[in-house]
Every structure is written in C-alpha cells, then in structure tokens.
Amino acid sequence: MRSTRRFAAFAALGLTLAACSSEAGSQAADQAESTAEVQEDVSFDAGTTMAELNEAGSITIGTKFDQPGFGLLNPQSGDPEGFDVEIAKLVAAELGIAEGDINWTETVSANREPFIQNGQVDMVVATYTINDARKQVVDFAGPYYVAGQDIMVAAGNPEGIEGPEDLAGKSVCSVEGSTPAQNIRDNYPEAQLVTYDVYSKCADDLANGNVQAVTTDNVILTGLVAGNPEGFELVGNPFTEEPYGIGLQLGDTEFRDFVNTVLEESFEDGRWADAWDRTAGRITGEEAPEPPMVDRY
C-alpha cells in the first residue's frame, strides 16, 4: 500500500517535470548527408599541426551540444549536428580526416579557452565570438559567420518591444557569463536582467510569463523560436555584431593560416553556403547570407 502511494507521487513528479522541459532541445534536425569531401592524399610540412593531425588520422573538436542549428547533439547518433559542426567537418576534410574520425567534445562557454590551452581539443567551433580578451589566450581563425544580438518575445509581441531601448523596466533573460548578458548590463542598465545557465530555462520563463523577453545572438534565438513557433517570435532587429571564429592554440600561426584558407575556399566554391542551407538555414528558412571577410590579424 505504502509503496504504491510512493510510486504514484514519483510518477506525478516525473510527469510534471517532463511536461515543462523546453521543447527547444527536442528538434534534432533531420539532415541530408554531409558533402564535405575528404582529401585523400594531402601532405603538409613536417612538424606543423596539420601534419600531426593528418598523421594521426583523427582530430578532437569542441562544439556546443545544445544549440539548434549550430551545434546540437543528435541523441540517436551521439554526434552533434549544425552549422558549426559542418564548418568543423570542412576543415577536418581538408586535413584528410573523415567525419567518422572526429572526436566531438562538448565545450560550453566557460570551458572553451581552458580546453584549447591545455590541448584537450585541437580546435573549437562553438558560436565563439572573437574578442580582444579571448585573443590574449587563444588564436582565432575566421570569422566564418557574423551573428547579432537580438530579442525574443512572446508571440504577438504584447509588450511592443522593438529594440534594446524598449527593455527599460522589463525583465529580460539571458545566460550568466554570456556576452549578450554583459552587453545588457553595460549598455542597457534599465532592463532587469535575469540570468540562468542555459537558454532553454529562459524560454521556459518566457512561456510562463516570468520574463518579458529573452536576448542573445539571433541564431540561438531562431532555434528557440523553431522549438515553439506558436509561443515565441523574434523582434528581428539585431543590435550588435558577433563575429564567430574558430578557436585555436595561441601562436600556432601556420594552423590558423591553414584554417583561414580553408574557410576562404569554402566561401568561394559554395561549400559554405551549402552547409548553411542544410543546417541553420533550414531552421531560419533564410538563404545563406554573404560570407564575412576572414580577418588574418
């Protein structure tokens, strides 16, 4: 008798939690197969990172596992999928490494620099904004995409939020430690900022009406809107520029030049646009944008 009662309580708890978990994570996009063609016989100067990786026949790449459209773990295959992932596969292919030989490692925002610094990953492709503080400890190839901070509101935009100035006095949600959260703190102090550890909690809070807006890079918000198109909409007025780069070991100039060249080639020959169409473009429904200029600093 007692055990039945206990079971019922657990079941009720479980159901409630399952019902309120965000739907953003559940939409693993069914992707067409990758088109990155592996370079069979490539040779690199001895002693370079390229030669080492080519010799080893495998590469460890850090990416996000929770960002629809850019890096989202497919629970069936155990591999991440998205635009970042496709960019990483392009680079690996040029090193002569097939996608099956890539070891994917989850790099959340806080561990990207340490993972690069102590060599746990060979490179990081993880919606990684290039900025000066980060350039002190890691090198960046790219940018391969320029995102912008935008605002997500409840469908119909009941508060009439058009841009960051309209956030004054409203509660807006973002992720602790993220660049968008810091931007709100620094430049729009009138907004009441609420910070969680992941964006899906922000989406839950927006759905509950606990916050009036969610802000971060437009590409991340697009993924959240795709998870709940009836509930959310994007203001569609990006107010920052976030150049996404590929994080590499500091001072490895040869490797950085190599990755930059790969990126430029992929911009030219359409592989970059194709990767966009199969991943993030599928969620946003938008054509591939004009590729950015690689910054060989």
């Binding site: 708890l13 409630t16 939690l17 890691v138 602790e176």
Partner: protein, 216 residues
C-alpha cells in the same frame, strides 16, 4: 590583481548572496528537520508515515531536480515564489531538512531508552519528554553529522547559480567568460569565497563538539 579589485563589488555581493542562501536555508532546514525528526519518532502512525515519505522523497531526489520543480514545475499549477532567491531557499531547505531529520533521528536513537521511559514515568507528556529530555541529548550527540550537513548545504547553494541567483558560482561564470585571460584569478577568488564560509564552520563545529559531546 587589478582585475579582481575592478570586480570587487560583484564578488562581494555574490559572496553575501551565497552566505545568506546558506544561513537562511540552514536555519529553515534545521527547524523543518527537527519537526520531521519529532514526527518520525512520534506515537502517531500517520505522522510517522508522512515524515518517512517526505524524507525518502527529498533524500533520494537530486537537488537540481528539486530546484527545477520549484522554479518551473509549480508554475503549471499556478503557484510561484515571489523571487528567485526565495525559490532557492525553499529548494535548499526542503532538500536539506531530510538530511537534518535523519542525522537527528540517529541522535535520538542514541539516547538510552531508559531516559525516555524515566521521563514518561515522571508524568511528562511525549512533547515534554522530547523537548526537555531526549532532543537536548540528541543534538549534543549529532554535532559532527549536522556539521557535515551544513557544509554540504553551503556547497549545494552553488546550484542556485543555474536558477537566476547571482551567487559565487554565477559570478565565476560571468567573470570567467568575460576575462578569459584571468581565469586562475577568478577561480582563486571564488574558491576563497567558499572556503571563508566552510573552513571556519568546520572549526566551529569541532569546538562545539568538544564542548557538548556526551561521554557514554
């Protein structure tokens, strides 16, 4: 070091948040845990059952799940805490009370049955004998395990960082991402913040233990 003094305000307020989370939750958990322990040894069967059920549910549910349920689950039944800080205090108190209860119950079990029997023989009610004879002895026995529960609670407050409370761990996340070149200083500052709370607690617990321990 320059960078640490630049962010001293944030670190200080984050430290105070962590400390107040731990202290407020600690007091609530102690009160609730004591009530639960009294219920678990009471002669009234439904009370015993209720307390046992509570302890088994909260002791065996991960704290993060408790947090998630209080922050996002109860909204489904139109309930809500007035602030995220109070949500965090509620989650930490409800969870920790289960451990306080069990620690205290072990102390109650350590009081020789003759004590309780003598109290009843003197004509004290159940409540009186619990308050005046059994619990005072029980508390003195369980100082070390209660100390462990308290230190675990102080560290568990870090989960609040994932639920919109700006404590030391949240400050760590914020500063680490914004100051990639100062990672070690950020870690050192945050670790120091926790040690300032937990280490003196450990010394205090040991001091109390030597003072009040019952030699049997």
């Amino acid at each position: 070091m320059q960078f640490l003094s630049d962010n001293a305000d944030l670190l200080w307020s984050a430290f105070l948040t962590t400390l107040s989370l731990a202290v407020v939750s600690g007091v609530c958990a102690l009160v609730l845990g004591t009530v639960l322990a009294a219920m678990r040894v009471s002669p009234v069967a439904p009370l015993r059952g209720l307390a046992t059920f509570y302890v088994e549910v909260f002791r065996n549910t991960p704290l993060t799940v408790v947090f998630f349920f209080l922050a996002f689950g109860i909204v489904q039944i139109d309930l809500q805490f007035p602030s995220r800080f109070i949500t965090a205090v509620a989650a930490l108190s409800l969870y920790t009370a289960a451990f306080v209860c069990e620690a205290l119950r072990s102390g109650i079990n350590a009081v020789p049955p003759g004590q309780a029997e003598a109290a009843r023989a003197l004509g004290l009610t159940f409540g009186q004998s619990l308050r005046q004879v059994v619990l005072p002895q029980a508390f003195r026995t369980v100082v070390p395990p209660l100390g462990n529960v308290w230190i675990a609670l102080a560290k568990n407050t870090s989960i609040a960082a994932g639920f919109a409370v700006t404590d030391l761990t949240a400050a760590l996340q914020r500063l680490a991402n914004a100051n990639a070149d100062q990672l070690l200083a950020v870690f050192a500052a945050v670790v120091l913040g926790y040690l300032v709370i937990t280490l003196p607690s450990a010394w205090l617990i040991r001091a109390i233990e030597t003072r009040v321990a019952i030699v049997r």
